[in-house]
């Protein structure tokens, strides 16, 4: 995928559409397309959070393992979502597992590269953080409602 094609993807992805053209161009230079087959692991709890994923198609299950009980899914993410913010905060380790539930396509950033970009350009870092906070806020709100156990 060319930088131009990646830029086109950026413009249509919910997470990045609010960024300026200048910041999109900068980020596009470090984005790579990725594909994951059903069942493939994108992140494993406790391992280094080396990547930041933008999902374009397919779905990813966020979960945790239950020892012998298998894995417990906590949330399902889909097109327009992002996988992971563990890359941004020390100790840069995944807090949960992330696994493709069907064929997934998207873009991936190297976490160290992305952190460097944020350190070099605080404006970019600020806008990325705002976008991430929007994601975190939405997931926190959803989690709070789930905790209400409204269907009980």
């Amino acid at each position: 995928m060319t930088d131009l094609a990646i830029l086109g993807t950026f413009a249509s992805h919910a997470f990045l559409e609010a960024l300026s053209e200048q910041h999109r161009v900068r980020l596009a230079s470090g984005a790579k397309p990725f594909r994951a087959a059903p069942g493939e692991c994108l992140a494993r709890e406790g391992e280094p959070a080396h990547a930041f994923y933008l999902i374009q198609s397919g779905h990813v299950s966020i979960g945790t393992h239950l020892g012998k009980g298998g894995a417990a899914p906590i949330q399902t993410l889909g097109p327009g979502d992002v996988v992971g913010w563990s890359w941004l905060l020390p100790p840069y380790q995944w807090q949960f597992d992330a696994r493709a539930t069907d064929s997934v396509q998207g873009l991936v950033f190297d976490a160290a590269w992305l952190r460097d970009q944020c350190e070099q350009d605080h404006e970019l870092g600020y806008h990325l953080l705002k976008q991430l906070l929007t994601v975190v806020s939405g997931r926190l709100a959803a989690y709070r409602i789930q905790q209400l156990d409204i269907y009980k």
Partner: protein, 283 residues
């Protein structure tokens, strides 16, 4: 109101129950069961969204939505959650036992208005049974409608109602069915999260959508936001409300909701007509 009163012509008095017998009963999920009962008369009919008052003799009455196929005249289907003394007593009834039945009562889903439109149904928990008659209706007249979608949220995989039917509906290319649970388990391969998160998985045209919602009110509040965010107009948003219905004919006032009685003016309401009262915090 006239239409509601006309519905009572099926019975000699709206306050007098007919005695009917249970033909079948089965479990749907933990604490949720379905009763198939004989109709009180040969011509007994209902409109999707309406409810009956079921009377367990010596215990009391409860308002229970109709959850079967409106075109199936031979049997009345009620899916019920055991949450109190009356529903607990209903749960203990066996095939052949008698119970009292009054109805059908209340308003219905706007199926005529929905003709030619995309129909998006959003159900949560025990909110699916009141929408199931709509699904039967839409599928029977499939060509009369645009896209049809069902977004359904349940507490856990074990709490998902009508699993076999959901699977059958999901196989159809002309029916988008999405089911999510609040808490997954290792056996669950579907989405986990709020029912509102299913919107991103679905395709519908907001400008020609009629939305039907049934479930806990907090769920409907958040669902309304999603529809409004997508510019579905308030006059095309319909909700089924639940209140303490006792007489079912607007006499007793137990189910008063602002200027309306849920038993007669509802349970199905158009959002723009009740929005002033829908978000009122109660002490």
């Amino acid at each position: 109101m006239t239409a509601n009163l006309q519905a009572h012509k099926q019975s000699s008095s709206p306050l007098l129950p007919d005695v009917v017998h249970i033909r079948e009963r089965w479990s749907e999920a933990p604490g949720v069961f379905t009763l198939a009962v004989e109709p009180p008369s040969a011509g007994w009919t209902f409109r999707p969204g309406q409810f009956n008052m079921l009377y367990v003799f010596g215990v009391g009455e409860a308002a229970i939505s109709l959850s079967g196929d409106p075109a199936e005249r031979g049997t009345i289907i009620h899916t019920i959650r055991n949450v109190g003394s009356v529903t607990g007593a209903l749960d203990r009834l066996q095939v052949g036992d008698a119970l009292g039945i009054r109805g059908p009562f209340g308003s219905s889903w706007p199926l005529d208005e929905a003709r030619g439109h995309d129909v998006v149904m959003v159900a949560g928990g025990i909110g699916l049974p009141p929408l199931r008659p709509v699904i039967y209706h839409l599928l029977r007249r499939r060509s009369d409608f645009g896209r049809i979608l069902l977004l359904y949220g349940a507490r856990t995989p074990a709490d998902v109602l009508y699993g076999d039917e959901l699977e059958q509906w999901r196989k159809r290319e002309d029916f988008q069915v999405q089911v999510t649970v609040d808490r997954g388990d290792p056996s669950w391969h579907g989405p986990v999260g709020l029912v509102t998160e299913l919107f991103s998985r679905c395709v519908f045209e907001p400008s020609r959508t009629v939305a039907l919602m049934c479930g806990p009110e907090v769920m409907m509040r958040f669902t309304l936001r999603e529809f409004l965010k997508r510019h579905v107009t308030e006059d095309r948003l319909f909700l089924s409300l639940e209140r303490n219905m006792q007489c079912a004919v607007g006499f007793c006032g137990h189910c008063q909701f602002g200027p309306s009685f849920v038993c007669m003016d509802g349970p199905v309401f158009r959002y723009d007509r009740i929005k002033l009262f829908f978000n009122v915090r109660e002490a």
